[in-house]
Amino acid sequence: MALRRRPPAGTTTQDERRLARDFAGLVAALDDPDPTTRRWAARDLEAHREASPALVARLAVETDVSVREVILTSLTCLGDDTAVDGLIQALRSEDALLRNGAIVALQQLPDAVAPRMEALLADPDSDVRIFAVRVLESLRHPRVEDWLLEVIERDAHLNVCATAVDLLGEVASPRARAPLEALKRRFPDEPYIQFAADLALRRIGEV
């Protein structure tokens, strides 16, 4: 008994992915009772361009967190319309973990999210608008500041504005000055809005 090198047969002792690895086999494996099998299927489906509908369907019913995380990752890698619509649907989930996973996924898909952002920011449900603003937190898209300014200029909901002004502390440029001042006037009795807007203004002013 000591340090030793494994036999040269291969690193893996045995391949546990017993189901067929073609597309149909992987889709079937998404419903396997064993979470490890489902995780591997979700992971391998990332390489199949037509996989989004099956992954979105599974995401809606999957209860194992580890499988769900891999499905979210694969949908992010695929990033097509079906994937993005499925992720946006997940923003409405009652499950905070799924909602937040979808936000992280959408943050990685700026080109697909951009054409849908206006509609999300106009959603009648203020929670969805808050989640849309949170997608902007890490979105690598040149319009992020525009969207945030539109929110603090137009949205009547205190917490939607509060979420947007949080992010302006990071991305605000001098043109945010007037909208930030206007926001402070709109919510004069809200200490948090005053604090966050002042912080953003200070950071603009210092340059």
């Binding site: 009652e94 905070a96 973990l97 909602r99 937040n100 936000i103 992280v104 929670d127 808050i130 989640f131 949170r134 937190e137 205190l158 917490n159 509060a162 979420t163 002004v165 949080d166 992010l167 502390g169 990071e170 809200e190 200490p191 948090y192 809005i193 604090f195 966050a196 912080l199």
Partner: protein, 124 residues
């Protein structure tokens, strides 16, 4: 000095809470999500947690569920959320929150709540 952990993904919110709590004489540590919160808990013994609900990677419910599943002392936790629904409040209490506050929180309310849960008399 009592130690408070503030977990929120928004940097501005963390700064706001820090300012208020430090003015009340508390020491504040920050974390950006539930996993980082658990990392901080592994390093330091806190007297109180302020936990946001919606955060990337691990949300506030997940953080509290993991924390409350552990043996040992269980300091109080205040859950802070933008969601005002009765169901959100119930879920927070079910996972082990001591109190549920709706954002944005006013400074005096934040401080009063911290004092109460830390078992300190609020200033007369």
């Amino acid at each position: 000095m009592k130690q408070i952990l503030v977990i929120d993904d928004a940097a501005t919110v963390r700064l706001y809470h820090r300012g208020i709590l430090e003015s009340g004489g508390y020491r504040v540590t920050e974390a950006v999500n539930g996993v980082e919160g658990l990392e901080r808990v592994a390093e330091t013994a806190f007297d109180l947690y302020f936990v946001d609900v919606n955060m990337p990677v691990l949300d506030g419910y997940g953080f509290l569920r993991e924390l409350r599943s552990r043996d040992g002392p269980q300091p109080p936790a205040i859950m802070v959320s933008t969601e005002a629904g009765e169901q959100d409040r119930r879920l927070a209490l079910e996972v082990g929150a001591s109190h549920y506050m709706i954002k944005p929180v006013r400074p005096e309310t934040l401080l009063a709540c911290a004092r109460l849960l830390l078992g300190e008399r609020s200033t007369p």
